[in-house]
């Protein structure tokens, strides 16, 4: 192996003037302060803003009032796309639901032949209409990217104002940084052919968010 690490650090150290103890406490303070920069403000309520921004990036939305309504909502969406009544999910809360008899629910990570997936968002960012997903046993990352039709369940109370709120929520969970954190804003797209936007480049062609309204909210 080479000694590039030592060389690089020596070059950097010879060019940045800093006195050991002080510098160490400066960066420690900075790393633990989690100081926020300017965060854009918006006039809308969180749910309204999230839906507005999601629709701007060609996402679609369905609001339901209870998890038990999910199978019907998913089935209806798949019918509207004219695709088979079949999903892959790894969320226990979802595959244990009462699905219709002719509806196929696979409980695993995604494989290439899966057309439609259903998973659960960790949270959402209202500012930009963004879903936040974490890699975990129940929410494997492949579900978010392999299938053509990506259906994501989001609980209304998990919609936050900004990306900075997500960092606070993850710190509050006190489980360290998840292996993958995906911020997803709309379906996959490309503009690499003549600057013309085309959906469904490599990832999902469609993004459908099913929001479970918070009890007591209207």
């Amino acid at each position: 192996m080479n000694n590039a690490r030592e060389e690089i650090f020596n070059r950097i150290k010879s060019k940045t003037r800093q006195n050991g103890q002080d510098a160490a406490s400066i960066i420690e303070r900075r790393l633990s302060a989690h100081q926020r920069g300017p965060v854009p403000v918006f006039p809308e309520e969180l749910l309204e803003r999230f839906i507005l921004k999601l629709k701007n990036v060609v996402g679609t939305v369905k609001e339901i009032s209870d998890m038990s309504e999910l199978p019907a909502a998913v089935s209806e969406y798949l019918s509207s796309l004219n695709v088979e009544q079949k999903i892959v999910t790894a969320v226990p809360e979802i595959h244990s639901l009462n699905w219709p008899a002719d509806f196929e629910v696979n409980n695993r990570a995604a494989i290439s032949s899966d057309l439609s997936s259903v998973t659960m968002a960790y949270a959402a960012v209202a500012e930009t209409g963004t879903l936040v997903l974490q890699a975990a046993k129940e929410t494997p990352t492949s579900l978010n990217f392999l299938p053509d039709n990506f259906i994501c369940v989001l609980k209304q109370q998990d919609i936050h104002t900004s990306m900075e709120d997500i960092w606070d929520a993850i710190r509050k969970d006190d489980k360290g940084m998840p292996r993958v954190v995906n911020f997803i804003t709309g379906p996959s797209r490309t503009a690499d052919v003549e600057q013309t936007i085309q959906l469904g480049a490599h990832g999902p062609r469609y993004l459908h968010v099913i929001i479970i309204r918070q009890a007591g909210s209207d």
Binding site: K53, V57, G203
Partner: protein
């Protein structure tokens, strides 16, 4: 790739008469500018974000070794490994070695400009691996065997027809034979071909837009989702990035992300922004088993203390390219290496040598739009001017231009000589050009008059007009 920056002048001349390139440039130019402007108009916090972003970058660069060390510790904690490369050759060796360890045959790649800088594809192919770019733009130029012509839109110079022709030639072997006519058809065929590659890849290589010291995260922003498939499906995920990309905290990253997408494509945020933290954990049912980060220096550490340190703040948004009148006229390939436009004209001479790229600092009108739109306010014209100074100092320019500059300096630094000389010169020119108001030919000015007329100057210099006006004022006051 090997730099062709020394041939800039010829390449620029060729680009200007390349009809399909000119058509593509025209098509692309306004899109980026209009979309960026719209996004910025909707962001009243822009200037405050810019000020904060500059603070973040300056702070990090002045403690770069500590943040890199902290980042490395966090990557190790999450089960990954950090490899260090002083040179592009070292980066190639490390990546080839990692692919060998993984017993790889197929390697998929997400878009990475540092990967382009280190010519990773060439090294992988020379070592017998199948290396496939998966960003659609990068895939297209890989098939065409060309370098990217834009840092965020690598195939911006290619027309739909040229892409369809490339696919026809290269996709035969996968039994795709239909004639592609529309953009959706082109995108769909690429999706199907590359889907197989994603599934069968043994190693996935992505870049990183930022490295977060606090958590040891590497992150990518994409719209296609190719970077995520590249990172998620193969057994080994290798991240290639460079040392200046580290930022302290997740909050700092959020500030830079708000500026990046808006400056680049006019989006508030790209479709996908993903933070990666090490390999698959015990409970995970997908994800890579091995996670490596390769950090390249390639001259960056030497920039820290000199005048070029400003360039280390660059977040590679491409706004300076989109707003540059020179880039808009000649496209990216004329610049001869991987980084084009104003940022490339600063970086290429640093990384490839001033002698190799001595024409690039002159590929600027110094109009200042690049600095104006740069989300980090990098003084690109100042950095280009410094390159010009060094070129003159190191005698890399022609003896003719040196003589011209010496004569000019001699006269211009002596007001008693300059004023009468310039006065009579301007008077003569003004008189000669009185009739038509312009010159279609002048001695020593053929470079200008070849392509356009030179306007005739006013018959009087500012200084002499000012003196006259002041004298008049005085005499009227005395009356």
């Amino acid at each position: 790739m090997k730099s062709k920056s020394h041939a800039f002048k010829q390449q620029a001349a060729d680009a200007l008469v390349n009809v399909s390139l000119q058509k593509a440039l025209l098509n692309a130019k306004d899109g980026f500018i209009v979309k960026r402007k719209k996004a910025m108009d909707e962001l009243p916090e822009f200037e405050r974000l810019r000020t904060k972003a500059i603070e973040i970058k300056e702070h990090t660069l002045s403690h770069l070794d500590q943040y890199l060390e902290y980042f490395e510790q966090q990557v190790i904690k999450s089960g990954g490994t950090v490899h260090w490369a002083s040179t592009t050759t070292q980066a190639q060796q490390i990546i080839v070695e990692l692919c060998k360890q993984a017993n790889a045959r197929t390697v998929t790649k997400g878009k990475s400009m540092v990967g382009e800088e280190a010519a990773i594809n060439d090294a992988l192919e020379a070592a017998g691996f199948e290396a496939i770019e998966t960003d659609l733009g990068e895939y297209i130029i890989q098939l065409a065997n060309e370098p990217p012509s834009h840092i965020i839109a690598p195939a911006i110079h290619k027309s739909k027809q040229e892409i369809a022709d490339l696919f026809k030639d290269h996709h035969k072997k996968y039994n795709f034979n239909s004639k592609l006519e529309t953009i959706p058809e082109i995108v769909n065929e690429a999706r199907e071909v590359l889907r197989e590659k994603f599934i069968n890849a043994d190693v996935g290589i992505t870049g990183a837009n930022f490295l977060v010291a606090e958590t040891g995260s590497t992150l990518i922003v994409t719209n296609e989702g190719n970077g995520d498939l590249t990172a998620t499906l193969p057994k080994t995920h290798i991240v290639i990035s460079s040392i200046e990309k580290v930022v302290p905290t997740l909050e700092d990253t959020s500030v830079l992300l708000r500026l990046l997408a808006r400056s680049a494509t006019g989006q508030e945020i790209t479709s996908y922004t993903t933070f990666f933290n090490g390999p698959k954990r015990n409970s995970d049912i997908d994800g890579p088993e091995n996670f490596h980060v390769v950090l390249l220096d390639n001259g960056r550490s030497n920039m820290l203390q000199n005048e070029n340190h400003e360039m280390l703040k660059c977040i590679h948004c491409g706004a300076c390219l989109n707003h540059c009148p020179v880039y808009s006229a000649i496209g990216g390939h004329a610049y001869g290496w991987v980084y084009p436009g104003p940022m490339g004209s600063v970086l290429t001479p640093i990384m490839q040598g001033l002698d190799e790229a001595k024409d690039l600092p002159f590929a600027s009108t110094f109009c200042g739009r690049c600095e104006e739109v740069c989300p980090l306010s990098i003084p690109l014209p100042k950095l280009l001017r410094q390159h010009r100074n060094h070129i003159h100092h190191d005698k890399l320019n022609t003896s003719r231009s040196r003589l011209g500059l010496a004569l000019w300096a001699f006269v211009a630094s002596r007001p008693a000589l300059y004023r009468p000389l310039s006065n009579s010169f301007i008077r003569a020119l003004g008189w000669l050009g009185k009739k038509s108001g312009r010159f279609s030919w002048l001695p020593f000015a053929s470079a200008w008059t070849q392509s356009k007329d030179l306007p005739a100057p006013a018959a009087q210099s500012f200084m002499s007009a000012w003196t006259q006006q002041q004298a008049k004022k005085k005499s009227s006051e005395n009356e």
